[in-house]
Amino acid sequence: MIRHPLARLLLLLMLGFAACSALAIDPLPFADAKEEQRFQHLVRELRCLVCQNQNLADSDAFLAKDLRAEVFELMRSGKTDAEIKSFLTDRYGDFVLYKPPVKPGTWVLWFGPLLILAIGILIARRQLRRSDPATTESGRDEDGEFS
């Protein structure tokens, strides 16, 4: 028997979290483990638009439940993963995908960080070369090695 009130509270919280993770499981009639695996993989890549920071697999919103059923039915009717994703983006836009597609509108998103990194490296290299007169005087070359 757990006596300490804090320990009781902790236990209650732990049990509560366990219940949360079990909520979003629908009794879908998977044919085999492979089909279930494909389904789970797919719904993890799709965003629940009601709760936005949850994927379709985790969300308990009724729209997410309907969309999981829709994804399952599309799988059953022989659609490929790409076809299922485009079914959803046709209706909800690219935002439904956790991984946005690479296209002109998302170039900044995909390549912006790399561009900024490249600019940073260039600036850093110029600064390092310029502000190191002591080393060049002592006979080091640009790579910082003694010649």
Partner: protein, 176 residues
């Protein structure tokens, strides 16, 4: 190092501050619909008040109308309801309801309480049609023209100011 080089970090900071500030207060729930400018999805659903009748996208062709997605379970829909009543009373734009995953009795009871602004109400019990329209959360309203094209989507409860600025301005030059 030239003097103006010292201003670069400050400029970068200002640019970042402007970027972040512009994001403040933005409604993150708003997701632009890819369906605007495209033909409205087809539907063929029973009417709420007379289930022997069908409400179809085809039968609504030839007129501009507002498709309003609602449910009696939806709090924001009840908040929006008086605006729809006023819009219906104006006679400028017919409103077609899409009753989304609702109990028919509860839906009828809500209309009995607050009045019925709808010309017809399609019952989407399965939620299939709502998925075709990319509905995320009720209420949502789609302005559909006589050719069956979606010309505007309003997310969330519509207020009278938006009815005038977003709907009526788009009606100009079209048949009511």
């Amino acid at each position: 190092m030239k003097a103006w080089h010292y201003a670069i970090p400050l400029l970068l900071f200002v640019a970042l501050a402007v970027l972040l500030y512009s994001g403040l207060g933005k409604d993150t729930r708003f997701v632009p619909s890819p369906l605007v400018g495209k033909p409205a999805p087809a539907f063929d659903l029973p009417d709420l008040l007379d289930p022997s009748q069908r409400v179809t996208a085809e039968s609504l062709r030839g007129q501009t109308y507002l498709l309003n997605v609602w449910g009696s379970w939806c709090v924001a829909c009840a908040q929006e309801h008086p605006v729809l009543m006023r819009l219906a009373a104006s006679g400028r734009l017919p409103i077609i309801g899409l009753n989304w995953k609702d109990e028919p009795e509860a839906a009828v009871a809500m209309l009995r309480r607050g009045g019925d602004p709808y010309t017809a109400i399609a019952v989407d019990a399965s939620g299939r049609t709502a998925i075709d329209f990319g509905v995320i959360a009720a209420p949502e309203s789609f302005l559909i023209d006589g050719k069956g094209q979606i010309i505007y989507k309003h997310t969330g409860p519509i207020d009278w100011a938006s009815v005038e600025s977003q709907l009526f301005t788009r009606l100009e030059g079209r048949q009511p």
